[in-house]
């Protein structure tokens, strides 16, 4: 019975993390879209986006700076619209990672060492994929 209560608690925490992550990332993407529409510079560059997508090059407004987390954060200062949209996308990617991190804590509180190890390895693979990617 106690185990079931702990499982229900973990399920609640996981659901909360997913909901918060999804909500925040959507809000940031939405804010970025609004900023892009309002800022004249971003709007001009966005007009070239459609042909660029066909050629397979990155969105012009985001060229070259949007393949590292530092690049996205750096772009926030001089071209906030596209950078905010990209930040929202990254927050969405981070949501499942945060879910795994919360599970590590949850299983630790349950005293389930086997599952603490399992979730820690999953977390390590996720972090490593960002580091080596």
């Amino acid at each position: 019975m106690e185990g079931q209560a702990a499982t229900a608690r973990l399920e609640g925490a996981v659901a909360l993390v997913l909901r918060v992550g999804v909500t925040v990332s959507c809000a940031v993407m939405g804010a970025g879209a609004v900023v892009t529409l309002v800022a004249p510079r971003s709007r001009r560059e966005t007009a070239r986006a459609v042909p660029a997508l066909r050629r397979g090059v990155l969105h012009p407004a985001g060229t070259s700076s949007f393949h590292s987390i530092g690049g996205v954060l750096g772009a926030l200062a001089h071209d906030p619209g596209p950078a905010l949209v990209m930040l929202g996308v990254l927050l969405l990617v981070a949501t499942p990672v945060a879910r795994v991190a919360v599970s590590v804590v949850g299983y630790a509180l349950e005293g389930d060492r086997r599952f603490v190890s399992i979730t820690l390895i999953v977390l390590a693979v996720l972090v490593a994929s960002f580091a080596i990617g």
């Binding site: 973990l10 997913l18 966005t46 459609v50 985001g62 393949h67 399992i118 999953v122 693979v125 990617g133």
Partner: protein, 277 residues
């Protein structure tokens, strides 16, 4: 097409992919990649990059409802994520080495086979009891889920954990390689190999897809294949669609769900085969 029109159109693509994906326990990538490449003329690299993000969105959006309703088996999911995440990283790297044509052909066959297997499957009550499995016992994987259609809680036992684990590594590799959730491989691995009920397999697959895709998303992002104005509208559309789809799943008859699933897998198989030719 202006950027605003494109954004609205992409939102629509996301809505459709999300609802269908959540309903069937798939990531929606099997809709996003073909639609973007065939109808929008988007470069395949960017389509796959956007699909990875959409897949994370479907999973995260739908998983909220599945986890809260105790439909997903989190322990099975977490354990199998060991296999899917390492597979996804493998796949993302393999992507630059292997010939895509050959892969499309192999997966078209594999998908067609799994569609037939799922469609022919007997009802849960008629299934023979799964063989005892020491791994499932040791890891405490057995579970139960609330079945709205039958109005009671259904207990189930997990079997063939090692086989499921191996299949999940393959599913993860496919996911990383093609930027799809590969629910079409995850669901049969749990449903057919491990003996989980179809609804639990679907929900758990959806739960795992986000983590699997996140493992390959880092690689795609670093390659510069994630375009914010392509990925974001689809992700938002997929989220809204996925929330609606997850709500529907609880009330659907398992047989109808299975047939829907089989049909969708066959369609994907044919489209993949066409890509190979």
């Amino acid at each position: 097409m202006t950027p605003s029109e494109l954004t609205v159109a992409l939102l629509g693509v996301g809505l459709f992919a999300g609802a269908l994906g959540a309903l069937l326990g798939l990531g929606g990538g099997f809709v996003v990649v073909p639609v973007l490449t065939l109808f929008f003329g988007v470069n395949i690299r960017l389509a796959i990059g956007a699909s990875v993000i959409a897949v994370i969105a479907t999973s995260s959006g739908a998983a909220v409802a599945y986890v809260r309703d105790h439909m997903a088996n989190m322990r099975v999911g977490m354990f199998l994520e060991l296999a899917t995440t390492t597979g996804a990283v493998t796949g993302a790297f393999l992507g630059s080495i292997l010939v895509p044509r050959l892969l499309y052909a192999i997966f078209a066959l594999a998908l067609a086979q799994s569609a037939l297997a799922v469609a022919r499957r007997r009802r849960l009550e008629d299934r023979p009891a799964p063989p005892p499995d020491a791994w499932a016992d040791a890891l405490g994987l057995h579970g139960s889920y609330p079945d709205q259609a039958r109005g009671r809680t259904v207990e189930y036992r997990v079997a063939r954990t090692k086989l499921g684990f191996a299949l999940m590594y393959v599913a993860g590799t496919v996911s990383g390689l093609l930027g799809v959730g590969s629910g079409t491989l995850k669901v049969p691995a749990m449903d057919l190999a491990m003996g989980l009920p179809m609804k639990v397999s679907t929900a758990t697959s959806n739960f795992m897809i986000g983590v699997t895709a996140a493992a390959s998303a880092g690689v795609y992002f670093a390659r510069g294949d994630v375009d914010p104005f392509l990925a974001a509208p689809i992700a938002v559309g997929v989220l809204i669609g996925a929330l609606g789809g997850a709500r529907l799943l609880g009330g659907i008859q398992p047989r109808l769900l299975r047939l829907l699933f089989a049909g969708a897998v066959l369609v994907v198989a044919v489209s993949m085969l066409l890509k190979a030719l």
